[in-house]
């Protein structure tokens, strides 16, 4: 027997484990397929071809209209909601992140704050949207608050990871050469955290663009409301121009955000 064969036989056998997992997945899959049927709506095909037609043949007037009913203004409003929401969320997430970092506060406190963050993260954005509409009335302001609170969950979680990986040796050496607490924070902690925090923020802004685009569906401003009205009114040319505008804006923002983040990470 050669060494290679020996090595092969020594490999741990976990067939039974793999088989069990596969069996469970297959059973779950069989269960999940029960609610699925490819049956089309009576005029589903017609609507599908209408949508494609609308995309190929968009309402150009509506797309390039610069007034506050045109796609460009609506996209700018969506952008504004996402930007302001991200900033609100990013500011609110900082104290929560420090309170949830287990190397800064005692374990029980960090655990409670983490639980709170899980709750904040799991409630769907649309629920917050509908709740904030009761506070501010329908409009983009409700969208800003919604984006702000939904961002907190993810931002705080990623901030916590950065805080827990903080290099404390730097702080120790600063103490040993006699720096004050303020100097330690300014030259020891902020430089370590700033680039990660910024990169996380930019990433979240990218996600928030999509989020802001759908919030309009509940009446919280942005491009979602005109989209749903156009669909309900079967105005497929308008649907086409909204979707084209949205996709182009999101692609541009994704491109810029990737560039900025790679610059931040690589220095």
């Amino acid at each position: 027997m050669t060494t290679i064969e020996k090595q092969l036989l020594q490999a741990p056998r976990n067939h039974r484990y793999v088989l069990t997992v596969v069996a469970i997945v297959v059973i779950l899959l069989a269960w999940s397929v029960t609610e699925f049927s490819l049956k089309l709506d009576s005029n589903g095909m017609k609507i599908a071809s209408n949508i494609v037609g609308g995309l190929l043949n968009p309402d150009l007037d509506f797309l390039f209209n610069l007034s506050d009913k045109g796609v460009i203004y609506l996209l700018w409003e969506t952008f504004a909601i996402a930007l302001l929401g991200t900033i609100v969320g990013a500011i609110l997430a900082v104290p929560l992140a420090f309170l949830a970092a287990s190397n800064i506060v005692p374990k029980p406190i960090s655990w409670i704050i983490r639980l709170l963050l899980i709750f904040i993260r799991t409630v769907p954005a649309l629920v917050y949207g509908l709740m904030f509409i009761r506070v501010t009335g329908p409009g983009p302001f409700a969208g800003v608050l919604t984006i702000g609170i939904t961002s907190i969950g993810m931002l705080a979680k990623l901030y916590v990871d950065a805080i827990e990986e903080l290099d404390v040796k730097v702080l120790e050496s600063m103490t040993s050469i006699g720096c004050t607490t303020f100097e330690k924070i300014r030259y020891g902690i902020i430089p370590q955290l700033a680039s990660i925090f910024l990169s996380v923020m930019i990433y979240r802004f990218d996600m928030n663009m999509r989020e802001a685009a759908i919030l309009g569906l509940v009446g919280a401003g942005g491009i979602g409301a005109p989209l749903i009205f156009a669909m309900q009114g079967y105005k497929w040319e308008q649907v086409g121009s909204i979707l084209i505008g949205l996709v182009i804006l999101i692609l541009i923002i994704e491109f810029i955000s990737n560039k900025l983040r790679s610059k931040l990470v690589n220095g």
């Binding site: 899980i118 506070v135 409009g139 569906l217 994704e254």
Partner: protein, 271 residues
């Protein structure tokens, strides 16, 4: 350009050499962000006055939600199951289709540039469409609401897993692939034995992660009529029945947390 307006600071070292320190760009970036924030606040009508006056309303709703209506559980159960079915089937089917799609989009395996470019474009276009919008369109096309939701999740999973996978395939070690081709294997055989083992753990872990996210997305799809628990969320808010809403959210948090824990366990094992 920036360096011409604000010339770099000159520092003379002790040995007489002069070093240029470029001025920080932070003030400029800060200024741009401030202007953008100001105009955004104008457009969105951001006002601290309204916020402080009316924020109590928000906490009234939260307070109601903290007294969950336990009797409502029977109504939630079927919709929750339908949400899970939608996300499970959509994720599995999407992940299966994502692998060939990712293969066709990776420049190091497929030498035809046109196919690669087309596949990459399709994947990124799919990814930009918000899931809720896809679901909204799908509700017009398909008969059953749950099917519309499944299709929306399916398309999102293809784009998400597909993108991460073609990045993984483009970054694998091609040495083994070339060696296998050189001893006379076909491209497909070489792919099977050289590339698949390298990307498989990443593929499974990405798919699981995507499934986790999809459960969250599926929860809201019902809002546009695509089946699942979103329909109930919409109804309870419409009736201002916040204690039932609290019950829905509680069930959702428990479900999502359970799924996340299970999937995290398997993802840690894979990597």
């Amino acid at each position: 350009m920036y360096d011409k307006i604000f010339p770099p600071k000159k520092i003379e070292l002790s040995n007489g050499r002069v070093v240029l320190e470029k001025r920080s760009r932070t003030p400029l970036i800060l200024l741009i962000v401030m202007i953008a924030v100001y105009y955004s606040a104008q457009v969105t009508g951001f006002s601290f006055e309204v916020l402080f006056k009316r924020i109590s309303e928000f906490f009234i709703i939260i307070k109601e939600m903290l007294k969950p209506n336990w009797g409502y559980i029977d109504g939630i159960w079927p919709e929750l199951m339908s949400t899970l079915k939608m996300s499970l089937f959509g994720s599995v089917a999407g992940a299966l289709i994502a692998l060939p799609a990712a293969l066709l989009a990776s420049a190091n395996i497929i030498k035809n540039r046109v196919i690669v470019a087309v596949c990459k474009t399709v994947l990124s276009l799919l990814r930009t469409m918000p899931t809720l919008v896809t679901a909204l369109i799908a509700t017009y096309v398909f008969d059953l609401p749950a099917t519309a939701g499944t299709v929306a999740i399916f398309l999102f999973t293809i784009s998400y897993v597909g993108k991460l996978m073609y990045e993984a395939i483009e970054n694998v070690d091609m040495g083994a692939f070339e060696a296998m081709e050189s001893i006379g294997m076909t491209r497909i055989e070489a792919f099977r034995y050289a590339i698949i083992p390298q990307i498989l753990p990443g593929y499974l872990s990405t798919s699981l992660f995507c499934f986790e996210g999809n459960v969250r997305y599926a929860a809201i799809l019902g809002y546009v009529g695509a089946g699942g628990i979103g329909k109930l969320i919409n109804e309870t808010i419409g009736w201002r029945d916040y204690s039932s809403l609290g019950m829905i959210v509680l069930m959702l948090v428990i479900t999502v947390y359970t799924i996340e824990t299970i999937s995290e366990h398997f993802r840690k094992k894979l990597i």
